[in-house]
Symmetry: C2
């Protein structure tokens, strides 16, 4: 059942039916009622392609899942972020078009994504330092917003980012205040822009107190529980083990926790752990009142909401200067951090 048929069955023109259905004023209330009733009865649904072709709006935004050809890690943050974005987009009737791109194919996928008409805008995730995709997206001339930022890139694009530097500066400060001097950093892959910023925050906090970082207790890798466990195990076996650890994700913190226990130590007493918490819905950091880990937190789901919101604004009015949003992580204190043990 298409518009033509529906119009015919009502003895009206397509124009009138279309207008009636889309709430235009040029149609009498009586006919509108008649039309909507008939539409409902026949289960009429406009063909989104045809509509999109006619209006020029795709009512969808694109998202590219970055992934190398090798079975690599899916960003655990992805699901919550997408949920947030989808949630906001749904309120405006937008869908998400997902595409997967191996590293080499990134460019092509981005191009084909906006192979005209498929989407009205794009959200780019997990930017690397000096990420070439930004230039590409600008080049393609389509609204986009980046979840994260790219250092060393001009500021002429939309982004939404948490203040990673500040968060890790604060977390490190907290540990320093507690008297810790040997603080380990278990960071994400430093190719990722956010990991870079976090390290800077960490290093700055140290040097502000006249301390220097020890590379032996700084690690950087994909943020898995395993990584946390392995590195913590290694570091705790050092002649001068750290008394505190700063980790980049709850999963890593859990791994560190496991290692601490495996070494017969107690978290929060012998070794403190502070982590960043992305607020993943399926991996809560204890309860709201009683967190397990002392943590900087910024729920990634709300990042999804915000990015979507920004993109929609951008789609509505392309010509305004780019919007940029910086979020401050909150800081909660749990039993995982305590005063540095006295020797």
């Amino acid at each position: 059942m298409n518009l033509k048929d529906l119009a015919a069955s009502l003895g009206l023109s397509q124009t009138t039916v279309s207008r009636a259905l889309n709430g235009y004023p040029e149609v009498s209330e009586a006919t509108r009622k008649r039309v909507t009733a008939a539409a409902l009865e026949h289960g009429y649904r406009p063909d989104s392609r045809a509509r999109s072709l006619a209006t020029g709006k795709a009512m969808a935004v694109g998202l590219v899942l970055p992934m190398t050809a090798k079975q690599e890690i899916v960003n655990p943050v992805f699901a919550d972020f997408v949920a947030g974005a989808a949630e906001t987009l749904a309120t405006r009737g937008y869908d998400i078009v997902l595409s997967l791109a191996s590293e080499e194919e990134q460019t092509n996928v981005y191009r084909s994504m906006l192979s005209k008409g498929r989407v009205d805008g794009m959200i780019m995730q997990a930017p690397l330092t000096g990420d070439p995709r930004i230039a590409l997206l600008k080049d393609l001339g389509m609204p986009f917003v980046v979840h994260g930022r790219v250092s060393d890139h001009d500021d002429e694009y939309c982004w939404m980012d948490m203040d990673n530097r500040h968060a890790f500066h604060e977390a490190t400060g907290h540990l320093l205040d507690l008297g810790h001097v040997r603080i380990a950093l278990l960071n994400g892959l430093e190719a990722m822009d956010f990991a870079h910023r976090r390290r800077d925050g960490f290093l700055d906090a140290l040097s502000e107190r006249g301390l220097t970082a020890d590379p032996a207790i700084m690690a950087s890798s994909t943020m898995t529980e395993q990584f946390g466990y392995n590195e913590a195990m290694r570091m705790l076996a050092l002649p001068e083990p750290p008394t505190a650890m700063l980790t980049s994700s709850l999963l890593v913190a859990m791994g560190a926790h496991r290692a601490i226990q495996a070494r017969g130590l107690r978290m929060g007493l012998d070794v403190s752990v502070v982590t960043h918490d992305d607020g993943l819905s399926y991996l809560p950091n204890g309860t709201e009142e009683a967190p397990i880990f002392t943590a900087t937190q910024s729920p990634v789901r709300s990042h999804g909401n915000i990015c979507a919101e920004m993109l929609l604004k951008r789609i509505d009015q392309d010509k305004t200067p780019p919007i940029q949003t910086k979020l401050k992580a909150s800081f909660v204190i749990g039993p995982s951090s305590g005063p540095a043990p006295t020797l």
Copy 2:
């Protein structure tokens, strides 16, 4: 730059250009070369909507993120599953259209999803027992495949499922063989069809050896680390604590592990833990050679691959009888399970 312009600039008809680009034989090799070169030079990309409208194929499949209005849990399995599906779909040039639906709006979202033309088929995830969506999808008459199954529903639909019953039967058998008698079950929400099947496998294995389950050591909830911890803590404090635990996800097992350690017990010696492992890429169960947890495993990413594959087949030929795939989980033994402690 559209087809018309491109054709004009080449002094050819749209027909010929279209045919040249799409590899039809009715065009000479010389013109084809000329056309492809020009297309490349002008950066021509066909409008996917127009093409879709003309061909009738959307080159996309739909996926609905189920989610209640309340900030509920995003399925942790989602990301990997989607990655798998996207991976397979990408090889055939298909995209994924993602939509989010609150429980009440499910029906509408499904309807509007295939609001004609948006997608060629759908993948449905996380079916509940007696899930009404299956009837809905059948009713809408669009190819679909279900990741999981629905009990008490006729078999006339495509599904791909792991043999949950068998997996938990085997896992329980393993623990029974080790001499365990009081085995706890930390299951997923029993509204989920798979949780139901797992419980059945567990119960059957027990009763086959003449044992009955104790409701005091059976729990069922959303599969978080917290849930694992809380329930394990509670159970280990019982007058007759379990000597083994069977959990429904790695996250839950990790929670149980934490509880075991918190109680001053040793996993694999005092309390055994066996879990199901969805093979999430960011949450590996140790390494392949050295798993941490004894586990039934079935990587959900490959589920995504398979579902996509099946759906594509289904889209290609709608009229064949529904395909159904049952996967057997593999079973790996790690240090988390050992002989039941002698009293």
